[in-house]
Amino acid sequence: MYEGPVQDLIDELGRLPGVGPKSAQRIAFHLLAADPADVGRLQDALGRVKEGVVFCEICGNVSEQTQCRICRDLRRDATVVCVVEEPKDVLAVERTREFKGRYHVLGGALDPLAGIGPDQLRIRELMARIGAQDITEIILATDPNTEGEATATYLVRMLRDFPGLTVTRLASGLPMGGDLEFADELTLGRALSGRRTV
């Protein structure tokens, strides 16, 4: 145990995801030795993150203004909405540069063990959006795990009564650059059942 502020810093850093005690200690001593200006910038960033960041009133993504950059961008197709769990998923889909529509961030997935049901997710907002705007397709891009699949199934049930709305689910299959022989059976099985005519 170190004395006073250093140990406090190590303890706080150690509570962050992906940071173990060794890393926390390393970061703490790095900060101790770092240029005060660098530490100042980190301090500012930390200070702003809780006050300065708001969530977009339309899609729920993290934003600087009341509406995020994507929702304000008139060049983007407002008729297609991609539904994701977290803001970081928006970034992942954006990196593909394939998607020109808008997003809807749920803020998680159905997870009864953590006490998260439909009311804790931004599902009501999604329904309101579909009712009010001219949306023709919803792409369900929740994670392909137990909770994400359950959320997708739930949304399919909720959305099937909207007339003229197409609901699609991201395909799951083989990673690019991979080897067929190393694919696990579940992934390969899904890729087989979801195969396309070419």
């Binding site: 159905l110 997870d111 009864p112 063990l113 006490g115 049901g117 439909p118 009311d119 137990t146 909770e147 699949e149 359950a150 199934t153 739930y154 049930r157 696990d184 059976e185 579940l186």
Partner: protein, 355 residues
């Protein structure tokens, strides 16, 4: 043959081999006791031959953290990916619990064998258990809301979704177990007759929580018919489930029935018969894996001391035909002479070949 006094590390060694095959211990339910007291992790490094290919499999067991696995020095994404490289059938004194213990012991026996048969079922089972935990949590909160007069519509609206997923994964697991028991039953009956010819005939059967609603007929179990049956049963039990806050239908409530003559083995079998039954289950599993083209490594951990002379003899006959057998014993004389192979002495955690 590994010979040594108790507490020297014989079981430790064969347990490690079993762990590479099943990612679990035959002795304890959790990983923590597998690691030397006070140490953060344990490493199991094995060199083995799979279909004439030499491989190394390395597992790092770190309780409370994610275990890591390497095959031929290359890391694999999940430890689960090493399943199927090594197949073992392990018989140990703990196996008496297969006959005398709770249904959970027999479900674990079926599932472990299922995974050895087709490693894919490790994933099916993990998915099923995850959905089950989620659904139970939902039943608890929805039930509490209903009793509190708050309606709980929020929870109930998603229950259908979890029902669907539980039925889907559950049907896959249930169908695989039904097929397994179908294939295993004659082998276990024959093995029991061989081990204890003077005893009553042994028969195993699968008892589903679906009861009469379980679809029957057909050569193999029909996954989609079972899915429908599970969904229907979940619908029927819903209010009861909400009251109790647990899922009442599904493979987690099923049982492998062990029958001896007319009576269930549990409670009615004598001590000797129980031993014979446990042995017959393991030998049946061994024959099943062999019939499907793999030569499992047979591990006999400290069992000869527990068996009478004829059962020892019978076990030795089977073991001799196996490609590789690992035997541990505290007293060398307990092991029938025909099993004499390479001998190792285990003392204080060190293994030395006996010339």
């Amino acid at each position: 043959m590994l010979v040594g006094q108790n507490g020297q590390g014989k079981t430790n060694l064969v347990e490690a081999i079993g762990y590479v095959a099943t990612l679990g211990s035959h002795r304890v339910a959790t990983d923590a006791p597998l690691v030397r007291h006070g140490c953060p992790r344990a490493v199991v490094r094995t060199a083995l031959v799979n279909e004439d290919r030499e491989l190394t499999v390395e597992l790092e067991i770190a309780p409370g953290k994610a275990n890591r696995a390497r095959v031929n020095r290359g890391p694999v994404p999940r430890p689960r990916d090493v399943l199927g490289i090594l197949r073992t059938v392990l018989f140990a004194p703990e196996d008496l619990a297969l006959v005398r213990g709770d249904p959970g012991e027999r479900r674990a026996f079926m599932d472990a064998l299922l995974v050895q048969r087709a490693p894919r079922y490790a994933g099916v089972r993990a998915d099923y258990e995850k959905v089950l935990r989620q659904r139970n949590a939902l039943l608890k909160s929805a039930g509490a809301a209903r009793r509190g007069g708050r309606g709980g519509e929020n929870d109930l609206s998603t229950l259908d979704v979890w029902d669907g997923h539980l039925a889907k994964h559950g049907a896959e697991l249930l169908a695989a177990r039904l097929d397994l028991v179908d294939d295993l039953a004659p082998l276990v009956a024959a093995a029991y007759a061989g081990v204890a010819p003077e005893s009553r005939p042994a028969a195993i059967g699968y008892r589903s929580s679906l009861g009469e609603a379980l679809p029957t007929g057909g050569e193999r179990a029909d996954v989609s018919a079972i899915t429908e049956a599970l969904l229907a049963a979940l619908g029927e039990k819903r209010s009861q489930e909400l009251e109790r806050g647990v899922s009442l239908v599904g493979p987690h409530r099923d049982e492998l029935d062990l029958v001896l003559g007319e009576a269930p083995a549990k409670g009615y079998a004598s001590h000797g018969e129980s031993w014979s039954y446990a042995l017959a289950l393991r030998l049946g599993a061994y024959e099943l894996l062999r019939a499907e083209g793999t030569e499992p490594v047979l591990v006999l951990d400290d069992v000869f001391a527990e068996l009478d002379r004829r059962r020892r003899q019978r076990l030795a006959e089977v073991a001799i035909a196996a490609e590789q057998v690992l035997v541990t014993a505290a007293v060398e004389e307990d092991v029938p002479g025909e099993l004499a192979g390479t001998r190792f002495r285990v003392a204080d955690g060190e293994v030395r070949r006996v010339e």
